[in-house]
Each structure stands twice: as structure tokens, then as C-alpha cells.
């Protein structure tokens, strides 16, 4: 009990003093996860909108697969990306294993289905409402998809935040493809895992606190965006 409270105090001190090691880890985490979210959004939202609005065979199958992939286990994604990027793998030439780039790739793969799937749901609901009006005005399906992506931007933002939350909190994928190398590929979650097993609780706790704060912040942002949008745009 004593060690715990002592660790807690040290952790708070680390956070308050903007400890250099701590900041570097937090910054790398944000850089990796934000970049992954950017990529996943660029791929996932158009994909989700296309599935929602388009008329093609296999639409339902694709929807089911995408929904299923939302639950991809991070360690499995890590393993697949590891196999792709390892020396003997098909992309081994690029020499990306154990770099932040590899971590971005893994996280992007992990959360693209989440953003695509949530996005599809949002756009599909909007499409049901707007379909006849947009067709009556002469909008092609792809034009309608773009219009609805813009029209549902506030709901989609919360989908993107959900992806960010998932990316920032996962440990399995970045651990495998990043390797948790001190100063190079150590992010919040991998550090927590390592430091805890080493018995160095203050750093792990400090990172845990920051991670929890970040997740709470993301959810608050999502909630407030929805509220604001509902008040201003209906």
C-alpha cells in the first residue's frame, strides 16, 4: 500500500515536471497514433461512404466483414505486419521493422475497419434520409456520397475519435512491430507493460494516468461536438 501511494506521488511529480523521458514517449505515441488515424480516415471514410451509397454486388458481405474486422485483435495485426516487414517477408527490402513507420502501418490497419464501419453506418442513415431528394436534384451516387460525408461531418468526427482512442490504447500491435526500443519505438502502452514487469511503477503509473486522461478527453470532445452540432445544425 505504501509503495503504491509513493509510486503515485512520484508519478504525479513526473507528469507535473514534464519529465523529458516521459514527454518523449507521450509525443511518439501521439505522433504514431495521429498519423495512423489520418491514414485510416483517408481510407476508411470514403470506403464506408462508398459501401453505404453504392449499388454493387457483395455490399452486404463487405459490410459484415468490415464489422467483423472492427474486433481485430491487435496482436494478430502486429503479427501480420511483422511477417510482411520482416527481412524474409515480401516487404522486407524496405527495412521498416522496429521503426515508428511500422507502428503507424500496424495501427492504421487496426483502425481502418473501425472508422470505415462506423462511417458506413452514419452515411447509410443519412443516405436513407436524403436519397430521394439528392437523386431528384440530379446528384450522382458518388456526388451524393461526398455530400453526405460533409453533411455528417460531426458524427464522423466521433467515429474518427473512436479510432484514435483504440489506436492510442492498444499495445499488442506496436509491441510486436515496434519492438519497444528505448528512445526509438517506445510508446505509452508498451512502456507501461515493460516498466510494470520491471517493477518500476512510477513511470508506468504516470503514463497510465496520461493515457486515461487522453481517453477521457477524446470522449468529452466527441460528446461536446455532438451537442454543439445538434444545437447549431439540427
Amino acid at each position: 500500500m505504501d509503495t503504491l501511494s509513493q509510486s503515485f506521488v512520484t508519478a504525479l511529480a513526473l507528469v507535473a515536471s514534464f519529465d523529458r523521458e516521459l514527454s518523449a514517449i507521450v509525443l511518439l505515441s501521439l505522433k504514431v497514433s495521429l498519423t495512423a488515424v489520418l491514414i485510416a480516415t483517408a481510407v476508411g471514410l470514403p470506403l464506408g461512404a462508398a459501401i453505404a451509397v453504392g449499388r454493387f454486388r457483395g455490399q452486404q458481405t463487405l459490410t459484415v466483414i468490415l464489422n467483423g474486422l472492427m474486433g481485430l485483435p491487435p496482436v494478430v495485426v502486429g503479427l501480420l505486419v511483422y511477417l510482411l516487414l520482416s527481412r524474409s517477408g515480401p516487404l522486407g527490402e524496405a527495412d521498416l521493422l522496429f521503426t515508428p513507420t511500422a507502428m503507424i502501418v500496424a495501427q492504421a490497419i487496426l483502425i481502418t475497419p473501425i472508422i470505415a464501419s462506423l462511417g458506413r453506418q452514419v452515411v447509410e442513415d443519412a443516405w436513407r434520409e436524403h436519397k430521394e431528394q439528392l437523386r431528384s436534384l440530379g446528384a450522382s451516387d458518388w456526388r451524393a456520397a461526398l455530400t453526405l460525408l460533409w453533411d455528417t461531418r460531426f458524427s464522423l468526427f466521433t467515429a474518427v475519435l473512436a479510432g484514435l482512442g483504440r489506436a492510442a490504447a492498444e499495445v499488442g500491435a506496436v509491441m510486436i512491430v515496434g519492438g519497444n526500443i528505448d528512445g526509438v519505438t517506445r510508446v505509452m502502452t508498451t512502456t507501461i507493460a515493460l516498466e510494470t514487469s520491471k517493477g518500476d511503477l512510477p513511470l508506468a503509473l504516470a503514463l497510465g494516468l496520461i493515457l486515461i486522461a487522453l481517453v477521457l478527453l477524446l470522449n468529452a470532445a466527441a460528446y461536446m461536438t455532438r451537442q454543439w452540432a445538434a444545437r447549431h445544425y439540427g
Binding site: 434520409e129 430521394e132 431528394q133 440530379g138 461531418r153 445544425y233
Partner: protein
């Protein structure tokens, strides 16, 4: 650009008559529209009247082109091409999450109108429906009546030669209904052909020059309004008139 400022009479535009020949529409094997043949001219305001489920909305969507017929055909002035200069206003107005003005401008954008012209035309259309003071307001927070007038402005801005209206006042209170009817009458005066559905007899009396009475997917009569309201030719229409309270 390229739109004539001088309005040609709708008859002169060559879109009419709008002819339906043996037009049918089925949904999952159930006939909704059953071999309807009808010729509509470009002059008179046409009201499609009938009970709920008679097929009014489906018939209108077939004419507008939102639905493909299962059988038969539609021609405009003898040609099968659907004219571009047509618009439709739905029972429930659907607005994008942006200002009233930009909602009107969006329709013009899809029609290929340049940016400056679309803003000025959208502004003018808002003024014509009496909503210029709400131009900057988010469209979806306007009242139901305001949103329906906004939908009319969006349609009007396109300068349609034919305006379809599907139960445009079904969700509105009497005051808002009157405002919407006034706008519809103005659009008709501007030279657009009006084709609208309603199950409201009072509204049909106020707006119709001719009545198409639909019963179970079939046209049972097509009569000048005055004659229809004096004495409908068909037993179905007579029964409908008896059962339906003439509102207002």
C-alpha cells in the same frame, strides 16, 4: 449561364403532353400502379387525388424519374427523354446541415450553375418565398413550415418547367399550409407546370385546375376540377368525397 431570362410558355417548350401509356409498377409482385394511361397538358395545374395507399406518391415518382416502371412507358412531348428542367418537393423536406441559403445554392451547384450566379439566384428564391431574413440560419433548425418553403425555394431556384409536389403540406398546420399554397400558386403563375398529390380536398379545391383521381393504382377519372367538385363521374371518387371531410 445559358438560361433564358424570358420565360417561354410551358406549352411552347415542347415537353407536353406528358403521356403515360399502360404504365405499371410492382413492388415484390404486388401491383402498385396498374396499367395507367394518362395525358397531361402543360397549362393546367394537375392535382392527383386519392386515398392513402392509392399509389399517388409512386405515380409521381415514376413521372419524376425516381422510380423505374415495371411496364409501359412515359413520354414528354412524344419523346422518351426525361426533361432536366423539373424539380420535386417532398412531403417531408430534407435539408443539409448548412445555412438555408446554401441549401438552395446546392441544388443550383448540381445543375452546374457558377458560384456567383448561384448565390444571387438562391437569394432571390429565398426572397420569393419570404425567407430572406433566415438565409444565414442553419436550415435544419427552421420550423416545419419554413423548411417546406425552403424546399420550394430550392426547387424554384432551378426554374423548373415542371414542379412535382408530393403531399407538400401533409405535416403542416393550417397557417403554414396556406403559406406553402401561396408559394405554389406563385410558382404556377411564373409559368411552371404544377403536378401535385394530396388527400386534402380543401387544398385540391384551392389549387387544382384538373383532378386525376387514383384508386387502387388505377386512374378512375381525369376531370376538370370544377366539374369534379360539382359531381365526380366515378363512384369511387364520390365515395371518397363523402368519406373525406373537406378541411377548412
Amino acid at each position: 449561364m445559358g438560361r433564358p431570362t424570358l420565360r417561354l410558355g410551358t406549352q411552347a417548350s415542347g415537353l407536353f403532353p406528358l403521356e403515360l401509356r399502360e404504365l405499371s409498377f410492382e413492388s415484390h409482385g404486388t401491383p402498385i400502379i396498374d396499367r395507367v394511361s394518362l395525358a397531361i397538358d402543360g397549362e393546367r395545374r394537375t392535382v392527383i387525388l386519392g386515398a392513402n395507399g392509392a399509389g399517388k406518391s409512386v405515380l409521381m415518382r415514376l413521372m419524376h424519374g425516381l422510380l423505374e416502371p415495371s411496364g409501359g412507358r412515359i413520354t414528354w412531348g412524344g419523346r422518351p427523354q426525361r426533361p432536366r428542367a423539373q424539380a420535386m418537393v417532398f412531403q417531408r423536406p430534407v435539408m443539409l446541415r448548412t445555412s438555408a441559403l446554401k441549401n438552395v445554392a446546392y441544388g443550383l451547384k448540381l445543375a452546374g450553375v457558377g458560384r456567383d450566379e448561384r448565390l444571387s439566384r438562391a437569394g432571390a428564391a429565398l426572397a420569393r418565398v419570404g425567407l430572406q431574413h433566415l438565409a444565414a440560419r442553419p436550415a435544419r433548425v427552421l420550423s416545419g413550415g419554413e423548411q417546406q418553403r425552403l424546399a420550394l425555394a430550392r426547387a424554384w431556384a432551378l426554374e423548373p418547367k415542371v414542379l412535382f409536389l408530393d403531399e407538400p403540406t401533409a405535416n403542416l398546420d393550417p397557417t403554414a399550409t396556406r403559406e406553402v399554397e401561396d408559394v405554389i400558386a406563385d410558382i404556377a403563375l411564373g409559368g411552371a407546370k404544377i403536378i401535385m398529390t394530396t388527400h386534402n380536398l380543401g387544398q385540391a379545391r384551392r389549387l387544382a385546375d384538373e383532378i386525376v383521381f387514383l384508386h387502387r393504382g388505377r386512374v378512375v377519372e381525369h376531370t376538370p376540377a370544377e366539374e369534379f367538385f360539382r359531381q365526380p363521374r366515378s363512384a369511387e371518387a364520390a365515395a371518397f368525397m363523402k368519406g373525406e371531410l373537406p378541411w377548412f
